[in-house]
């Protein structure tokens, strides 16, 4: 099995998640976290997908080109972004009201670990250097569907889909989908199912890279990946 360069892996994950939203026919409201999740915005092609960022905009567009960057128009990762027609601004209470009040259909977040019970750890690595929780806990309990976008393993080659989270948990049993460069997993009634598998790997390869238990879905398919260099 040939390893996938990290940048390609990240683009593949973002692209795959974007396809999930692009197929919608009715309006869908999506919050994107920082890192790979924010890259999802670059692959959204359906104008029925409305991006919300928790610092106060609904209808966020892609990242702004340098010459058009406005430092007062940023996403939650502090990156200058653009408006789309029909966008709106609001305060932080309204923003988290949308989130906590279940008005946001989906959130896409990164993670350090997800375990086989759908618990996610993505707010802190207790190393004494970081102190921050941000909106992660609100998003995992509030959004109707939680998508985790992460590379399958750490840079050191450790599994991120684990038996039980060792890091401080952000939310319990809240994860619905995990998308990595090699697979799409879906939590159904508290059980983790492999739903899509990338062409480069076998189920056995995946078991070797995944320390949490998963079942293989009866409708397992090959994971869609971007077709051309142009698309990624």
């Amino acid at each position: 099995m040939k390893p996938i360069p990290e940048d390609d892996a990240r683009r593949r994950i973002a692209w795959r998640i974007a396809q999930e939203f692009n197929k919608t026919e009715s309006p869908v409201f999506v919050n994107l976290g920082v890192g790979i999740p924010s890259m999802v915005a670059d692959y959204i092609t359906n104008d029925r997908v409305f991006l919300q960022t928790e610092n106060g905009i609904l209808g966020a567009g892609p990242a702004a080109p340098d010459e058009a960057a406005d430092p007062m128009l940023i996403n939650a990762g502090r990156i200058p972004i653009t408006e789309t027609p029909g966008c709106s601004y609001f305060d932080s209470c309204t923003s988290f009201g949308m989130i906590r009040g279940s008005h946001v259909d989906a959130t896409v977040l990164g993670a350090f670990e997800v375990d086989e019970e759908g618990n996610v750890a993505n707010w802190i690595i207790p190393n004494g250097k970081q102190l921050g929780v941000g909106g992660a806990m609100d998003l995992v309990v509030g959004a109707r569907h939680v998508f985790i976008a992460m590379t399958h393993m750490t840079r050191k080659g450790e599994a991120k889909i684990v038996k039980s989270c060792k890091l401080p948990v952000t939310g319990f049993g809240e994860v619905d989908f995990i998308v990595t460069e090699f697979a799409v997993f879906h939590f159904k009634e508290g059980r983790l199912f492999l739903q899509e598998i990338a062409p480069e790997v076998t189920i056995e390869d995946l078991r070797g890279m995944t320390s949490g238990q998963f079942e293989v879905s009866g409708s397992l398919v090959t994971m869609a990946i971007p077709e051309s260099a142009r698309e990624i």
């Binding site: 007062m72 305060d91 209470c93 988290f96 102190l131 909106g135 609100d138």
Partner: protein
């Protein structure tokens, strides 16, 4: 009756900052580098007023913006959501120089709002069972657990708006709005830094975000938005 004259709301920045007492709990608007009252923060740093509890989303970057208050040693404690952009916070906390109360961002916003609208506490689903919940009361509603969060009231709020009219009605600019309108309701003394002052009637009443009842002092910053 201490009815204020509208024209008294506008003050020079230094005079406004002198109204802040050492040891105050101070709400400060902004998210990242958008919507923080930069001139008020600079003046607060120069004032060397100390013992402050800063209640904000983040603390800027080391020695930049709000980060300067910490570098200067003016901070006694922090209540907020995200300090990963300023590693000096973790260092000061680990060395026991400051206390830090981490609050999930949505809970923080709502706790500030609660303080502003006369609600002492509320229950939220956010953070149940996590480290954030330690020491907090939980209660079940409809078969689900919720966490009790008390309102976060402050002595002073320093906020940033785009325009103010002569009465102190405020409008904001893009994602620089964030926590500012909420904080405007939650402190005994509310000081707004604005880019532009306009006459009464120049702002569309339908578009005013913060009605002037919440605003005590307006200082003019200029540029930005």
């Amino acid at each position: 009756m201490g009815v204020k004259l509208s024209c008294e709301k506008q003050k020079p920045i230094d005079e406004a900052i002198r109204m802040i007492k050492p040891g105050s709990r101070v709400l400060i608007g902004g998210f990242g580098n958008a919507g923080d009252p930069k001139r008020l923060i600079d003046a607060l740093c120069s004032s060397r007023i100390g013992g402050l509890v800063i209640m904000s989303n983040d603390l800027g970057s080391p020695n930049v913006g709000l980060g300067k208050l910490l570098t200067n040693g003016q901070v006694r404690g922090l209540i907020g959501t995200y300090y990963n952009w300023n590693p000096e916070v973790a260092t000061a906390y680990n060395e026991g120089r400051i206390f830090v109360e981490l609050v999930p961002q949505g809970t923080f916003a709502e706790a500030v709002r609660a303080a502003g609208v006369g609600i002492p506490a509320f229950y939220t689903p956010t953070g149940v069972g996590t480290e954030i919940a330690k020491g907090k009361e939980t209660r079940e509603f409809g078969g689900k657990q919720y966490l009790l969060q008390e309102a976060l009231k402050a002595d002073v709020a320093l906020i940033k708006a785009y325009k103010s009219d002569k009465l102190g009605n405020l409008v904001y600019y893009k994602t620089a709005r964030n926590f500012n309108p909420v904080m405007a309701m939650a402190a005994d003394l509310v000081i707004a830094e604005v880019d532009e002052m306009v006459p009464c009637g120049a702002l569309d009443p339908e578009c005013i975000v913060t009605p002037h009842i919440f605003v005590d002092v307006v200082v003019q910053g200029g540029e930005e938005k």
